[in-house]
Symmetry: C2
Subunit: 132 residues, 2 copies
């Protein structure tokens, strides 16, 4: 089955994560063969970080895990779509989706604000502890 998948010259393939219920597109990342195999066998999304050049097990540090609901391949085998059930936000800006900015004639417009998660509250409130 994995022989149908066409990796690029760097051994990578694009991977879209979409919320399985709301259908919101959460993020776009990359996978190598190892990341894809791990994703399909563990049921948790594992990407390949191009900047860090190593596997990026989503949620390993942030706790924002993406559980696999369905994996899809496109017609020419060079793009993956994952329907996921996330435990939290997708974006490092603490937003549900990384696609939170719109390109408009007036410039870039921010569409969503950071979620009020527990982690985010701690991040906002901790600097205040020395004030009171």
């Amino acid at each position: 089955m994995l022989t149908h998948i066409r990796y690029d010259s760097a051994g990578l393939i694009t991977a879209i994560a979409q919320h399985h219920a709301t259908r919101e597109v959460l993020m776009l990342a990359w996978m190598n063969h190892e990341a894809l195999q791990e994703t399909l066998t563990t049921g948790r999304l594992c990407y390949y970080s191009r900047s860090r050049q190593k596997l990026w097990r989503k949620g390993e540090i942030s706790g924002q895990i993406q559980y696999l609901v369905e994996a899809r391949l496109d017609c020419d085998g060079d793009a993956l779509l994952f329907l996921v059930d996330p435990t939290g936000v997708a974006c490092h800006t603490v937003r549900r989706s990384c696609f939170y900015r719109a390109l408009t004639p007036k410039g870039l417009i921010t569409l969503t604000q950071p979620e009020k998660t527990r982690t985010n509250f701690i991040r906002i409130l901790l600097p205040l502890k020395n004030v009171f």
Copy 2:
């Protein structure tokens, strides 16, 4: 605004097309600066074909145009998401979405069949005209 966009070393950026109403992810393609500018100014999706190495005005040949509803940029500026209103299918296999195959423990499973569009009927029926 377009200065926030980070193209790769080949001058390209990934572009996801999502149906604006159903939220179905239709396809993943690529854009260069020119394709993106054309998309934003004409309101019709224009990609860059890596295989043909030229602009690919979606629907120019097939008639399956994608009208732009909203353009979004991700957090690190290297992926685009377009909410589109398509006049027909996205895939050259005459399916609504290019992501019509699921990766399952039993192998690749086809999730959707080709749409019964007029063009598709003609393609199916034309070879029969010599039979009757």
